[in-house]
Amino acid sequence: MDTHAHDRRHFLALTAGAAATPLLAACGAGFGGNDDKGGGSAADDVTGSFDWKREKGGTVKALLNKHPYTDALIADLKSFTAQTGIRVEYDVFPEDNYFDKLTVDLSSGRASYDVFMLGAYMVWQYGPPGWLEDLGPWMRNSSATGDEWDRADFFPNLLQADQWSLKDGAPLGRGGQYALPWGWETNVVAYNTEVFSKLGLRPAESFDELREIAGVIKRKAPGAGYDGMYGIAVRGSRSWATIHPGFMTMYARNGLRDFTVDGGKLKPAMNTPEAVAFTRDWAGMVKQGGPPSWTSYTWYQCSSDLGAKKAGMLFDADTAAYFQAVKGASPASGKIAFHPGPKGPDGSLATNMWIWSLGMNAKSKKKSASWLFLQWATGKEHLRRAAVTGNHIDPVRKSVSQDAAYKDKMRHLPGFIETFETVVDQTKIQFTPQAQFFDATTSWAAALQEIYGGQNARSVLNGLAGDLAAKVD
């Protein structure tokens, strides 16, 4: 799961601390020493024919987040060591504080971890200070990268999501490749088939229908034997993670943008008349059909409510529903189906996503071995095993998504494969890349809460846009 419960105050405090580190270095404290080899990439040092055993006997240290994708990776590490002769040492940290740990580690300029998990949004924060190795030269070097890695096998939107030119507002898909997609989540609607059938409902095809269905469930489900059930679970806590799943997906399907870029300058766009109307409707939907204590809702509550038959629908990461839907996981197991969710007015199924990616520490002294690890971990063989025998739910590779064994495994979940295949090509990062992302989206979530609390949507969003304009300027 993504860093939905990520603590903003910690993150900001650590970022402030991180900002102080270069000052300490300048004062001669010896922090953040630069071990780089001038301008070129260390990838240029790898020559000759590609050899998995090139770094035999070496070790790579990995920082990982506690996650089912991680479990699948750890279970398969023996095959990496057998293939390369490289040993992997790893530390696994809890999700809530994983990025605090990673931020401190990277900002210290030490190479305590060679490789680590990160999200595509984190590239916007870790990339500009030079903490992330550009993997492009490694990918392009045929001596460093085996043919079977097959870059073209990745879904293009996923690979592009980790590629950026490090300039605020510049589109993704250009510039350095600062991480590799490893596992991801698309944001769609999961619903309780039993309730839908009892109330004679069908999954919503438009946002208006979604709002109406959410209200109908909240009004009628308790009387139909689903005590305390409400219509739709969406996140509502004062966190950046509230904006990025269902809200941003529906926002993008309505053709709306977070920022516009004019002459390289970012201009907040969440206060356009269309954005104001949408945001008002979203808050209205939550009031009519959402959970009673919505402002505290993270993915924990959303996912759990779907599984506990407290929510009729969930508009969030497909993995948040998957782990409630599998056999024996929850009271709603076997009664959860997947749907792409409402289309935008022009039929758009633009979807926002979270990608767990793997990156390399720019200060690593074991870059060649680290690249072999990244290559293996994002390669076809491991990802296929992780998808078929582990819980690597949404494959980043086309070949794995089409694999018969993977499809057999997922087929018991109604609509999962169809939904995945429907939205995959339209799923991408719908935000404008910029270093203030976490601060901006947290403020956006706070504005959403204020509108939910009854304040005027236009004035709240105008205030938000004014604040953000000063911040991103």
């Binding site: 401190v104 210290s108 782990f323």
Partner: protein, 276 residues
């Protein structure tokens, strides 16, 4: 009058019981959560089939989380930190209570200032230093850094205990031929034993509950329960039952310690409250 008194007594009891329920409810709720099976975690409040499965999972190091190791780590670093702080802090507290020397107040203020600054403001330089000195992810490193938490507490609280002791007792001992060291160990220290017990418990609880230092300055080897217990929340589903079980297990050492030294604790906390 008697009826009114009785009524007031009953009302006071009722208010106390209400407060008792209010104060204990979060703990009761955690106990309930820890006894719930996973599939009834969110669907019921009080009516469920109780199971000790969560405790078995947590203590059996299942889910890939070595909780027992984290627990032992917490014990080692907390006991170590308190012991070291007592060793250094008691003489320091005694000295600062008995003598004024140049810079003594500044020294004491500096010590206290360790408690003002948020840990996050110093964590990055500490992290770098620990990496360079080889203290990262070690018991020694954790015991050392926890001195920032336990030492100021012990020195400042014990300083007031020593200051409340009349110096005539030690002077009498000195007249009888005791050395200053003997006067400290055989006269002053036994008299503040309840205070030492109370402050040790407080320092232990603060060290045990510390989160930021073990999060940043340890990895798998010296990680403590405060960080480790959170691991049960992430991943595929929020496992509140396991988190609650882990949290309840981690409450046991401070609770046992408090019960064991309860006799000293009450005396220690009320010591010096009334002056003749």
């Amino acid at each position: 009058m008697t009826v009114r008194k009785r009524l007031l007594g009953v009302l006071a009891d009722a208010a106390l019981i209400l407060y008792f329920v209010f104060a204990l409810f979060p703990i009761a709720w955690m106990v309930i959560l820890s006894l719930k099976p996973a599939n009834q975690l969110f669907s019921t409040y009080f009516s469920f089939t109780p199971t000790l499965g969560s405790y078995r999972t947590v203590l059996g190091d299942s889910e890939g989380i070595p909780f027992v190791r984290f627990f032992v780590n917490s014990l080692v670093v907390s006991v170590g930190a308190v012991a070291l702080s007592l060793l250094v802090g008691l003489p320091a507290a005694y000295a600062s209570a008995r003598w004024r020397f140049k810079g003594s107040e500044n020294l004491m203020f500096t010590l206290l200032s360790f408690r003002f600054a948020p840990e996050l403001t110093v964590i990055i330089p500490l992290f770098v230093l620990y990496q360079k000195l080889g203290l990262f992810d070690t018991y020694v490193g954790m015991i050392w850094v926890l001195q920032l938490v336990t030492l100021p507490l012990i020195v400042w609280i014990m300083r007031s205990y020593f200051a409340d002791l009349t110096p005539e007792l030690e002077q009498a001992a000195l007249l009888d031929g005791y050395t200053r060291k003997q006067a400290f160990f055989k006269v002053a220290l036994p008299l503040v034993k309840p205070g030492v017990a109370a402050v040790s418990l407080l320092a232990f609880i603060f060290a045990w509950n510390n989160f930021v230092f073990p999060l940043i300055l340890t990895s798998n080897e010296a990680q403590t329960v405060t960080v480790g217990a959170l691991s049960f929340l992430g991943g595929d589903r929020p496992k509140y039952n396991l988190t609650a079980a882990a949290a309840l297990v981690s409450v046991v050492p401070p609770l046992l310690l408090a019960l064991t030294i309860q006799r000293y604790l009450v005396r220690g906390l009320s010591f010096g409250a009334v002056k003749s």
